[in-house]
């Protein structure tokens, strides 16, 4: 699973570095004095058609907006694989517009309101629902059910109106990673319940190994721990409605999550706020830490240790809540309602969801993705990917990760600093949750 684009060293996923040029950011940076941000105009219009060939409304061309820069590695190769396979199969020309991942994400609002491509790559979750509610996406419910995709995928592609707006193509689960060599050497077994996990952590601590490798300099990695604790303690439905803005953050449920986390903090590496996720992964690979709650793209930071890695799903905490939900962000394709060629776009999307298309994408790339379609071939998968597919296939519910499951403003301007505050000062849970709630009301309006 290759997610190198998401966690680049300098650019966390949801809070964004560069200023993409748009009418609004132009105004903003002008106010800031120009020189302050001094950002050159990037991606003036990502609706630009880089092949130059596509004649606007022709039924023989469909425009394809891709959130990968040209020649940027396997992720790009897979996108090109999708496009080439469709052209070969249907004779329809796919005019692809390749844009750097973060740039694409940062300019998405302008892009969708300008002249977007017909089909574009995006994510499942609240970030998709917001666009659907604002009428920026076309209803795709007539493409569902998709052969080879279960209910969890359908749920993740569904907006608040009960209709589907996404065709998933890959995902990458979050789980507890460990190195087999360290576990074998000490004769440790992956824990199956919370108490086992804590006693294993005690044993690791006794040997001078930090039980959990932990870093949150980038702001988002610790969200993974919050998500899983909330899902295990309060259940999937509460987690989703909390992130959707329908629950209070100063409730006892949320406080319990932070309390549990506080009790676990002594088992986490010290000083997480100065450590990037790559450095965190390195300490796991070096055996300085025993476990790490992270996404499967962890291997990108420690390619040499990748064969030594294995993972287990975060164990059950509350016996009344099954441990069958997890974070597994799903990437998918959507149809922009401002796209010129709705019918051709839908036809293309129908193809993109098939096992055939996802196989073609994997065949075109040096490293495969975990295809969302369970009928896709798994021949090229690594051991970690095979296990990921198995685990996600068995999951009852899939969450998309905090920054994709809630309002972006809330995730980046409230939750990142709040979680970092908690890690600095884990004892003031009442003050923390009160502050989050006040800011949540200010952003969500209720």
């Amino acid at each position: 699973m290759n997610r190198q684009q998401r966690p680049s060293l300098l650019v966390p996923p949801s809070a964004l570095a560069t200023a993409a040029a748009s009418r609004r950011s132009f105004l903003r940076s002008a106010v800031l004095g120009g020189a302050l941000l001094g950002s050159p105009a990037l991606l003036a219009a990502c609706g630009g058609d880089d092949s130059g060939g596509g004649g606007g409304g022709s039924t023989k061309t469909v425009k394809f907006g891709v959130n990968e820069a040209k020649d940027s590695g396997p992720a790009y190769q897979r996108m090109k694989g999708f496009a080439d396979a469709y052209t070969k199969k249907s004779g329809v020309k796919v005019s692809a517009n390749y844009v750097d991942h973060n740039t694409f994400q940062e300019s998405i609002n302008t892009y969708l309101q300008g002249s977007p491509d017909d089909v574009f790559a995006w994510f499942a979750g609240y970030r998709m629902q917001q666009f659907a509610e604002d009428g920026l996406l076309t209803d795709l419910s007539d493409l569902w059910p998709i052969d080879g995709m279960g209910d969890a995928f359908k749920e993740a592609s569904t907006s608040s109106d009960g209709k589907q707006y996404l065709v998933p193509y890959d995902y990458y689960p979050w789980a507890v990673f460990y190195t087999k060599s360290l576990f074998d050497k000490n004769n440790w077994q992956p824990p199956t319940n919370y108490d086992d996990m804590v006693s294993l952590a005690d044993e690791m601590k006794g040997k001078g190994i930090a039980p959990f490798a932990f870093g949150d300099k980038d702001g988002w990695p610790a969200m993974g721990t919050f998500d899983i604790l909330n899902m295990r303690i309060n259940g999937f439905d509460f987690h989703m409605s909390l992130l959707g803005g329908d629950e209070a953050w100063d409730s006892n449920e949320v406080k319990k999550v932070f309390e549990t986390w506080r009790n676990l903090l002594p088992y986490h590496q010290e000083d997480p706020l100065g450590r990037t996720w790559q450095e965190t992964a390195t300490s796991l690979a070096k055996g300085e830490a025993g476990m790490m709650m992270f996404g499967t793209f962890i291997g990108d930071a420690i390619p040499d240790a990748i064969d030594d890695l294995d993972f287990f799903i975060y164990p059950q905490i509350d016996p009344s809540i099954p441990a069958d939900s997890l974070d597994a962000p799903i990437d998918g394709f959507a149809l922009a309602s401002a796209g010129q060629n709705q019918d051709a776009g839908k036809e293309f999307l129908k193809f993109l969801g098939t096992a055939e298309a996802q196989d073609a994408a994997n065949a075109a790339a040096d490293a495969p993705m975990i295809a969302a379609n369970e009928n896709a071939s798994q021949d090229s998968y690594s051991a970690l990917q095979l296990k990921s597919a198995e685990v996600v296939g068995a999951a009852g519910h899939i969450a998309q990760f905090l920054d994709r499951d809630t309002d972006t403003d809330f995730a980046s301007t409230v939750m990142i600093p709040s979680i970092q505050d908690f890690l600095k000062n884990p004892d003031d849970i009442d003050g923390l949750t009160k502050s989050i709630q006040e800011q949540k009301v200010s952003i969500f309006g209720s």
Binding site: P12, A17, R28, A30, V31, G274, Q420, I443
Partner: protein
Amino acid sequence: MTTTTPSTTTSRASSSTGPTRVRRRLGVVDRIVVVLMVVVPAALVLLLVWLPAFGSVALSFGTWNGIGGLDRIQWVGFQNYHDIATIYPPFWPAMRHNLVWLVFLFVFPTMLGIFLAVILDHEMKFSRFYQTAFYLPVVLSLALIGFIWQLFYSRDQGLINDVFHTQVDWYGDPKINLWAVLVATAWRHTGYVMLLYLAGLKSVDASLREAAAVDGANQWQTFFKVVFPVMRPINVIVLVIVVIESLRAFDLVWVINKGRNGLEIIAALVSQNVIGEATRYGFGSALAVIMMAISSVFIAIYLRIVFREEQR
């Protein structure tokens, strides 16, 4: 003046068909040129500075997520300002950090820069080499500097902790990361100030020093009583640069941790709220307006100094 005189003479001599050029009053073409020279920059300033500035002030009284037209803005009065001051935890730390930044930049790197300039001004061996070495960081972008210093400061893999066998969390501990960042900024700022003063020192008339020496002044007295006051224009420029640099401090903290966890500064907060995917345009504009108000105070002071200078 000396350059225009000959051309006027030649045009008078060579042509009798263009009497308008000789007159004191401006000709049509000249008038158009003058009007254009006034109108075009004025329009640009209006369009690029004042319009966005007032747009920002207007936006700061509403909430808008950037989707849909301007008619979807909800006007909320002073709510954003109220929220910033009451329930937005990073705001007051940010104000404090900007102030610390200003004082620090003024005290340490500026003084050090002057000191280095004075030393390098004495024709010493390898002075070119030292000049280059001290000035080199100025050429690097702050973003790159953040990256370079990450290699020093990293807790687990950084040079400093490795050499001294310490475990200080330079960038992560909110009690010290601001100072760590300020050292990195100073590394760059010192060279900048040094170069400005070096240029200033070179332009000081040597006879002034000789006169001071003849009057029996020692090195200290010569510098503080004669040379330093003569460099007044440079002093004003450096003062302004320090203020500007500390207000627009942004790149370094943005590269390090996006201006969070001990590194909150106003410019980074504005960016967090409006740049990229985040779309709190009203809230971010309110922060920008606060920043603009603070800048205006310094701009007003600067302009007063400049105008007073001109009146003399």
